[in-house]
């Protein structure tokens, strides 16, 4: 093959060297082993962002040849520098061989590299790369501006060849449903051709093959004949691609059980008892709940200018897109690429040119973005709902769901509400949704995705709701109303259990309840060790209902009142009066016991929409906790005024989260003093403390101690920061053990420094880990703050230990290498101490 002419050269121009190199690596993966002529001109150097016309000129000259060069650029100066580079070319005849391609850098490069290695000429390569932008173009180019506007910078094309036509027969079992349709649309969109489809069998169509919603309205079922007509510069290629794709069943792997479409129309077979990951212990039995969102309302408001409304839509689409992309990535990681492809259909809907053109028409005609979007979505939904195929009819619900997501993002309305009482089955829960779960309604939770260390799992544990995570997408197909058994202690899920199995689980649940009842009966007594040291067992709360539960569970205090529930799911911050009323209600529900109120602990991972928090690459390392509230002084002031008012009547402590040094703490104390002045003076019993969750704060605890009345170690974050392991990333989940001696050393440092000066509490998950309790007590922790439902069990556990023995255990643990060794040491120690019931 060495006699073949060299392919078209490709130059990648970017502000960033890293970006360009990575894009090239991504693209060349597609043509492994084949010849690719690619040069990079990116960054002023390896670190400095910028573009350099001379570098580009040299890159062009490096890959130039008889076939010419296609240049792909990122934004702004990249384009200007590339144009200038052409002027700078030493060989003026080379200018005619260079095509500047308006395609998007990454997608365009991938397409261009494939086309070039396939022998396409430079104009074909550029055209292929340019049309990789079609999704964005349809999104951004105003309706009516015509295709020419978006492609204005593209190379002039030859006269369009005549239309080409072909036919395929649908082989897929469920017809052209969302997944194969998404694959078809994706293929068509990469080509510079207008492709239309008609269902010959039913006569439906023709419709644009670039529109997912339109393709779905063809109602193309297995055995139907679909006519493909294509025009445009790549018409023939488009037709060939579509027919080839159809012959491959649109790359869909049919389900293993080749059942005939069943009458129920709900996807056939039941998943067998699946074993997912346990995330919150306890056995739950009940019907699968229907999750039904209260439909978002289209606000009755005067629209702004068309440009503003259009931009509003663009911004609103971004959040659901990110959410779907996040779910897709999680699904790929946890259940595989084939299953994850369903999310592509959702993403395509958000970029659907037909749908967006319809919205644009509405906006241009003077409608507000929410109204125009809603009308367009309703129209698509209606088209789909009118189809005879039950599978496709069900896609109307997908359209509605995605449409509602956008509408909610646009109007700031809260998301899903759960109807009835039973077991919640969902893909995943956002922290905001999880925060709203009620234990009296949700008996158990099954998540298709997620990890035991995610916020959703932690919140479920804190509410005592049995939960399993990572159950896979099959769980989502279980019809509402089906009886489900969930064992959050083992990860077992049983769908529609046989009577004997059900009886067995009921017996196990009863045993657990009996033990819990015994512990509860003793819970009002203090947790006193065998050597007569009282340990405070207090509760972490997120609502007044939690406070009632804590009071009923015998909690000695509220060790942590999370106030985020007051701030999420609304369009502005609660005012002083509302907060005061909530805090007072919590204090009253706790029967006058001390409550420790944490100031708003939000951040990029737990966003509050009205605070306009910029997206961050690493929200856990970004503006969260005290860093955020110090940037919003009015909000912090209001919260502190409300806290001070309540503190004048009942014992209250205030807790500042995410403090990394005395400067932040002193700023927060200054804000507290100002708030106290507005609340009638500093309340006498108000104590001030900080969360110790930043490793640096633990290491320089001496600099913070003079300014606090107590410390509360947030082991969840302290662990993820100390071990550099993301709590939301299941792949590093095994590292995330707070019993790692590195984390224990930080806790030890804090306790040693604080001894005889201020008390140290632990309010992280580990405080409720029965294995860890002797270790924490031995290190010097005086207050274990746990979820309300865990209080009785923890209290009964504390009573088994001798503090002196615990201290010996702690010293030994600090010298070990990892959490596994620590846990083994605790087991051996428990055996020596004669705690035979102490198993792991």
């Amino acid at each position: 093959m060495s006699s073949q002419p060299a392919p078209v050269g490709i130059v990648v121009v970017s502000h960033s060297r890293c970006l360009a190199d990575a894009a090239v690596a991504l693209a060349t993966e597609m043509v492994r082993g084949r010849d690719a002529r690619i040069a990079v001109a990116a960054g002023l150097d390896a670190q400095t962002l910028g573009t350099d016309a001379v570098q580009i000129q040299q890159a062009i000259e490096q890959v130039d040849g008889p076939a010419g060069v296609v240049v792909l650029m990122d934004l702004g100066s990249a384009v200007l520098s590339a144009e200038l580079a052409i002027d700078l070319l030493g060989d003026p005849t080379a200018r005619d061989r260079v095509v500047l391609c308006p395609g998007p850098l990454v997608e365009g490069l991938v397409v261009a590299v494939v086309a070039a290695s396939g022998g396409a000429d430079r104009h074909e390569v550029a055209a292929e790369a340019a049309s990789a932008l079609m999704g964005k173009q349809s999104h951004l180019v105003p309706a009516g501006a015509g295709a020419g506007a978006g492609a204005g910078a593209a190379e002039p094309t030859e006269d369009e060849p005549a239309e080409v036509v072909g036919v395929f027969t649908v082989a897929n079992a469920h017809g052209l449903h969302a997944r194969p349709a998404a694959r078809l649309v994706g293929e068509v969109r990469t080509l510079d051709a207008q492709v239309r489809l008609r269902n010959r069998t039913t006569g439906a169509g023709p419709v644009a093959a670039s529109s997912l919603t339109k393709v779905a309205t063809l109602g193309a079922q297995q055995g139907h004949q679909v006519e493909v007509s294509a025009s445009g510069t790549q018409a023939r290629r488009a037709l060939e691609h579509v027919l080839a794709l159809a012959a491959r069943r649109f790359d869909e792997v049919d389900p293993p059980a080749p059942t005939a479409p069943d009458a129920a129309g709900v996807g056939g077979g039941r998943p067998a008892p699946a074993c997912a990951q346990p995330a919150s212990p306890g056995i739950a039995i009940g019907p699968v709940l229907a999750v039904r969102a209260a439909p978002p309302l289209v606000p009755d408001e005067a629209p702004a200018t068309a440009a503003v409304e259009w931009r509003r839509l663009g911004e609103a689409v971004a959040a659901p897109r990110r959410e779907v992309q996040r779910l897709r990535a999680a699904a790929v990681r946890e259940v595989g690429e084939t299953e994850a492809a369903i999310f592509d259909a959702h993403l395509m809907l958000l970029d659907d040119p037909d749908l967006l053109a319809e919205v644009r028409r509405g906006v241009d005609a003077g409608q507000g973005a929410p109204a125009a979007w809603d009308r367009a979505v309703v129209a698509v939904e209606r088209d789909l709902a009118a189809l005879s195929d039950p599978y496709l009819r069900a896609r109307a619900a997908d359209v509605r769901a995605v449409g509602d997501q956008v509408l909610r993002a646009m109007t700031g309305q809260p998301a899903d509400a759960v109807q009835g009482e039973g077991i919640l089955v969902a893909r995943d829960l956002t922290p905001a949704t999880a925060a709203g779960l009620r234990r009296d309604r949700i008996r158990g939770i099954v998540l298709a995705l997620g990890s035991p260390t995610s916020h959703a799992a932690i919140l479920a544990r804190s509410r005592g709701i049995p939960t399993v995570v990572g159950a896979g997408p099959d769980a989502l197909a279980i019809p509402a109303g089906t009886t489900l058994v969930v064992d959050g202690g083992t990860g077992e899920i049983v769908v529609d259990p046989a009577p004997a199995v059900l009886a067995d689980y009921r017996e196990r649940a009863r045993r657990q309840e009996r033990q819990a009842a015994e512990q509860l009966a003793a819970a009002t007594r203090p947790a006193r060790t065998r050597d007569d040291v009282d340990v405070l067992v207090s509760a972490n709360l997120g609502s007044v209902a939690d406070a009632r539960a804590a009071q009923a569970s015998g909690a000695d205090a509220a060790g942590l009142v999370r106030t985020e529930f007051l701030f999420f799911n609304r369009d502005r911050a609660p005012d002083v009066d509302e907060q005061e009323a909530e805090y007072r209600a919590i204090a009253e529900a706790m029967g006058g016991r001390r409550i420790t109120i944490r100031t708003l602990d939000a951040g990029g991972d737990k966003p509050v929409p009205y605070l306009r928090m910029p997206a961050e690459a690493n929200p856990f390392l970004g503006v969260r906790g005290i860093r955020l509230t110090l940037k919003h002084p009015a909000l912090l002031h209001d919260q502190l005024v409300a806290i001070c008012r309540v503190a004048r009547e009942t014992p209250v402590s205030v807790l500042f989260p995410m403090v990394s040094g005395p400067r932040e703490l002193l700023a927060a104390r200054t804000a507290l003093a100002a708030a106290a002045a507005d609340a009638g003076g500093m309340p006498a019993g108000l104590e001030v403390g900080i969360m110790v969750e930043v490793p640096a704060a633990a290491l320089k605890i001496e600099s913070l101690l003079p300014h606090v009345d107590f410390l509360s170690v947030g082991t969840n974050d302290l662990t993820q920061y100390a071990l550099a392991a993301d709590r939301g990333n299941a792949a590093v989940g095994t590292l995330l053990d707070p019993l790692d001696p590195g984390v224990l050393a930080l806790v030890d440092l804090v306790c040693c420094a604080a001894r005889d000066r201020v008390p140290v509490a632990v309010c992280g998950e580990v405080a409720a880990d029965e294995t860890a309790i002797p270790l924490l007590l031995g290190l010097g922790v005086a207050d274990l703050s746990v979820s309300p439902y865990a209080v009785p069990a923890i209290k009964s556990r504390v009573r088994e230990f001798d503090l002196g023995a615990c201290q010996l255990l702690a010293r030994a643990a600090l010298g070990l290498a990892d959490a596994d060794e620590v846990r083994a040491a605790i087991t051996r120690w428990a055996g020596r101490c004669g705690l035979p019931g102490y198993s792991l």
Binding site: G50, T51, S77
Partner: protein, 226 residues
């Protein structure tokens, strides 16, 4: 010959511009922070610092054309942002327009600036009122030509160009951005002065400060000067 500019004066112009850019780096970046990506001052200063270093190490720049080419090529390689190709083109086109002369006369200087303006338009595709460097440069070139046409001295013409550039720069504040990243802001770009136009005004300020000193005194026409 009166009203002419030597290579040495042009060098002083460039160095004066570099000093002004350095003195105003933070100011330019702050302007860019309001409506762009907050790098204009940094980028321009990096570019002009490199230009000065190149001039320092160059043996002897023989002609205005060579000088401007060197300035332009240095800028396109070191600025990094859109100002690189734009200011780079400005100087490269000036260099081309100068032709093979050792000293630039008034007409030659005006032709060079006109070519620079055309280059900027070709590169940036900006029009009047788009809130770009064009809005300062175009009135300045017009004013320079008008003053020379009316028989004014080169020094007076450069001062007129500077004044027109300053007015043009100030006018960008009320404009709605239609080019570059600022255009993403739409209505919110109104009320902020354009950083590119501000840099052009500095370039003209440097010219007004340097060119009279030499050309006026060499022609002996400046009143009140020693």
């Amino acid at each position: 010959m009166p009203d002419s500019i030597s290579c040495e004066v042009l060098q002083r112009w460039i160095r004066a511009f570099a000093r002004l850019v350095a003195d105003n780096e933070e100011y330019l970046t702050r302007l860019d922070a309001s409506i762009g990506d907050a790098d204009h001052g940094t980028n321009m200063n990096r570019g002009m610092t490199a230009v000065v270093a190149a001039l320092d190490s160059a043996e002897n720049v023989a002609s205005p054309a060579a000088l401007f080419k060197q300035v332009g090529m240095t800028l396109v390689s070191t600025v990094g942002g859109a100002s690189g190709p734009l200011f780079g083109t400005l100087f490269l086109r000036m260099g081309t327009a100068c032709g093979d002369v050792e000293v630039l006369d008034a007409g030659g200087f005006a032709r060079a600036l006109r070519a620079a303006l055309e280059g900027v338009v070709a590169r940036g595709k900006a029009e009047t009122g788009d809130k770009t460097m064009y809005d300062a440069l175009a009135p300045a070139v017009d004013a320079l030509e008008a003053a020379l046409d009316a028989g004014g001295s080169l020094a007076a013409a450069v001062r007129a160009a500077h004044a027109a550039g300053v007015s043009g720069r100030d006018a960008t504040t009320a404009m709605l951005a239609r080019k570059g990243r600022a255009s993403y802001l739409g209505e919110r770009s109104v009320g902020h002065q354009d950083p590119g136009a501000t840099s052009v005004a500095l370039l003209l300020q440097a010219a007004a400060g340097v060119i009279p000193a030499r050309s006026d005194s060499s022609s002996g026409s400046a009143s009140g000067q020693p």
